[in-house]
């Protein structure tokens, strides 16, 4: 098979950026898959590749070990394992990519949750000889919990099964039924051989029975957050199976804007005309802000109107998800860092209690009555754990996330649990299933400042009514 495609670099001035993560262990061939993607897109520079060849030879390996491209730390090389998420950058003429390569062995939950938190797509590796195993279920559960919009299941090592269709279709069906029970809608299985390059970047001639896309095809075409993918998601949730750009625009409701800074330059203005300027610096977390929109400030509940959207290069009529801008309001009201601005008629409520799925990422356990800081958007609020309602156990039968919660009263390192909190001040924390930014939070140690865990908020009352966060 020819992999000799002359890829040029993407033109980052016009092409979009896709953030994706790969999850799996060395045994599944994840490093080989990553190496194959980088190699076939001509993203490995000569000196880096020569270094890999040299070290592989020194270790007595027959072929270059592409894992060496990503294992950057001394401890990783010495132990021959990948410890931490590594970020890789590559591009094709269609897109630029940021790949968060998440190792499977050590600190599994921490790495997978970290990689998935920013991912537009997750590539899950399966060894075709073994099919769906416990680790696959764990990956899919993390994708469901973190609401990764697209999941690509790379059924690897099909070369070892002589490129036969039967085993692949069996795995594909198994993946599909498991994914559905988790509520994952955008899952595609692709038969690949990372070693031989089949269906990774180049369509294989040895799987003539497979007419679907390659892994790279999918990565090049799925909508990213910068293409307005959140809007496609919103349309999807309204029951539109294959939303068009118009459906996406129609599905759009409010917007969210966490205030990072109050911009009041006074004597520090770049020119005297801006002495009295007063704006709010931040990044649009969701939706499209337009001049004239009604605004609700949270948690205070005060209201105003968008008077202007400013950037250093000029004013805008609208600002969409991901843009860093300054907003001006038509009224002078008390607003500080940590406040959330929201579209007037679609604003969330600020509450003092919430519950959430929490991934616990530190050595000491989390217990009831522990005090932590909740970092939510730009806000930092004291909180107390009021109850721990269960721990995720993916080996339980049933398949849905809610069916997979076992009893438990403390969270240990790498556990994912259901936790309820009481807050010292109200926060506009929303259901993560609908609001990936304003539903996310981190837990911080009030004493030493370390990050203890990460959470995705659930609707207030589980299992009741439309807003319930049931089985995703």
């Amino acid at each position: 098979m020819s992999t000799d495609i002359a890829y040029e670099a993407a033109d980052s001035r016009v092409t979009s950026l896709l953030r994706f993560a790969t999850a799996g262990s060395v045994d599944d061939g994840k490093s080989t898959l990553v190496g194959r993607l980088l190699h076939d897109t001509k993203s490995i520079l000569a000196d880096a590749y020569e270094a890999v060849e040299r070290v592989s030879r020194d270790r007595g390996l027959e072929a270059p070990d592409l894992a060496l491209l990503t294992d950057g730390l001394r401890a990783e090389r010495e132990q021959g394992i990948t410890i931490d998420v590594a970020y890789r950058y590559f591009s094709t003429p269609k897109r630029t990519f940021i790949l968060a390569d998440c190792p499977g062995h050590v600190q599994y939950t921490r790495n997978a949750v970290t990689g998935a938190s920013t991912a537009d797509a997750l590539v899950v590796l399966i060894d075709a000889r073994f099919g769906v195993v416990e680790q696959t279920k764990r990956h899919l559960a993390v994708a469901a919990l973190l609401r990764v919009p697209h999941v690509i299941v790379a059924v690897n090592k099909i070369d070892l099964l002589d490129y036969a269709q039967g085993p692949f279709r069996h795995i594909e069906r198994h993946v599909q039924s498991h994914a559905e029970s988790l509520g994952l809608t955008n899952v595609i299985s692709i038969p690949v051989s990372a070693l031989e390059g089949d269906n990774v970047a180049v369509a294989s001639t040895r799987t003539s029975w497979y007419e679907g896309p390659t892994v790279l095809d999918v990565l090049e075409t799925v909508p990213s957050i910068d293409d307005g993918a959140d809007l496609y998601g919103a349309a999807h949730k309204r029951g539109v199976k294959h939303p068009t750009a118009q459906d996406a625009a129609d599905a759009e409701t409010g917007w969210r804007f966490p205030v990072q800074l109050v911009l009041r330059p006074q004597d520090g203005a770049i020119s005297p005309e801006y002495r009295e300027y007063r704006g709010y610096g931040g990044q649009v977390a969701e939706g499209t802000v337009r001049v004239g929109d009604p605004v609700t400030v949270l948690p205070s509940g005060r209201t105003s109107t968008i008077a202007g959207i400013d950037t250093s290069t000029g004013a805008l009529d609208e600002a969409f998800t991901g843009q860093s801008v300054a907003l001006r309001l038509s009224d002078e009201i008390d607003i500080a860092r940590g406040d959330l601005l929201a579209f007037g008629t679609d604003a969330p409520k600020a509450e003092r209690q919430f519950h959430a799925h929490v991934a616990w990422l530190t050595d000491r356990p989390l217990r009831v009555r522990d005090r932590v800081l909740v970092q939510h958007g730009t806000a930092m609020v004291q909180a107390m754990v009021t109850s721990i309602d269960g721990i995720l156990d993916i080996s339980l039968p049933g398949g849905t996330l809610d069916n997979s919660i076992a009893k438990g009263h403390e969270l240990l390192l790498n556990d994912i649990g259901v936790v309820s909190f009481q807050l010292a001040q109200p926060l506009a924390i929303e259901d993560y299933g609908r609001h990936r930014r304003t539903g996310a939070f981190c837990l911080i140690d009030p004493q030493d400042g370390n990050t203890l865990g990460a959470g995705t908020a659930r609707a207030q009352v589980p299992g009741s009514g439309e807003d319930a966060y049931v089985s995703i």
Binding site: T15, S16, T70, T114, I188, A245, Q260, S324, T378, D448
Partner: protein, 313 residues
């Protein structure tokens, strides 16, 4: 597509992205800078006049518009910097009306707090003046222009990276960093390094410099220069670089891909005289930036990791 199809709107794949990669990277950089400053007591930006620190400074001017950049700049001067770069540094600071603190490696050598290394390079000697500068001026948030694609150890470093009382980076004990939530909290005596362009590649930096029409030191563009070859790199004769007997200078058309300490930063032969020439060259190059031009990173596989553990940038 197979039956288990992804939701790909065919129309969406042909429309130009609503936000390009450069737009997204710029917005992310501004967000990171605002987050760090929003919680900092006294931030500082490490500014060398190199292209990466020029981009970070430019992002800062956007983040705080229409106010001035609300923090000081600091430069650790090895004493072996190129004159053009120092001149560019001072001109930029003047233009933006900012305050620059310079920590000089030469001062440390003069009063014997540091000793010159046998090979004459001073990159490794920057760590102590850097940490002293942070302590003396009580900086708690230190912005830098490091990028993850530069080097393998950097690929594993967080955007917001905690440093202990000795300025040391502990790669095995990093805080998890999720979504766009960054954690700059630290105890007294500790500080955080913040890298707003972590996710940019060398090519992104150049395309952004072109788009924003940013001024750079002239060394980045092709010029005729007296150089000599050592270890496959073109070095410029400099008081700090003792030429060996078998080395001869010759005039070549060269440019610099990085502008560090003159004693260990090599030039590359290049006809690229404009930003667009440089972009074309970077887009087609087959050698990494550091591999081509930094003798200090060639020492061992973990050279950068070891320096960072000691408190380096």
């Amino acid at each position: 597509m197979s039956e288990a199809s992804v939701t790909t709107d065919p129309a969406s794949t042909h429309v130009p992205a609503r936000m390009s990669t450069l737009d997204a990277l710029e917005a992310e950089g501004i967000h990171i800078i605002r987050e760090a400053v929003g919680t900092a007591r006294k931030p500082v930006l490490l500014f060398s006049g190199g292209k990466d620190s020029v981009v970070v400074l430019h992002l800062a001017t956007k983040a705080f518009w229409p106010g001035k950049v609300p923090f000081e700049l600091m430069h650790v001067d090895t004493g072996h910097n190129f004159d053009e770069v120092i001149e560019f540094r001072d001109r930029t600071v003047e233009r933006l009306g900012l305050r620059l603190q310079v920590m000089k490696v030469q001062d440390y050598i003069d009063d014997e707090r540091l000793r010159e290394r046998p090979d004459g390079t001073r990159n490794q000697l920057q760590t102590v003046p850097l940490l002293d500068g942070i302590t003396q001026h009580k900086y708690d948030v230190v912005f830098g222009g490091a990028r993850r694609d530069e080097e393998k150890a950097r690929a594993k470093e967080r955007v917001v990276s905690l440093r202990d009382e000795f300025g040391a980076w502990d790669p095995r004990n990093q805080r998890p960093e999720l979504w766009n939530l960054y954690n700059p909290r630290h105890l007294p005596g500790q500080h955080v390094r913040v890298f707003p362009i972590s996710n940019w590649t060398e090519l992104d930096v150049w395309r952004y410099i072109e788009r924003e029409n940013l001024d750079l030191p002239s060394l980045y563009y092709s010029h005729d220069r007296e150089v000599f070859k050592r270890d496959g790199m073109w070095l410029s004769p400099h008081p700090a670089v003792k030429m060996r007997d078998d080395e001869r200078t010759e005039t070549r058309s060269v440019r610099y891909r990085t502008v560090g300490d003159a004693s260990c930063t090599g030039a590359v032969e290049s006809p690229a005289t404009s930003i667009s020439d440089v972009i074309a060259e970077v887009a087609s190059t087959r050698i990494t930036e550091r591999g081509a031009t930094r003798a200090d990173d060639r020492v061992s596989e973990a050279a950068m990791e070891d320096r960072k553990k000691e408190g380096y940038f």
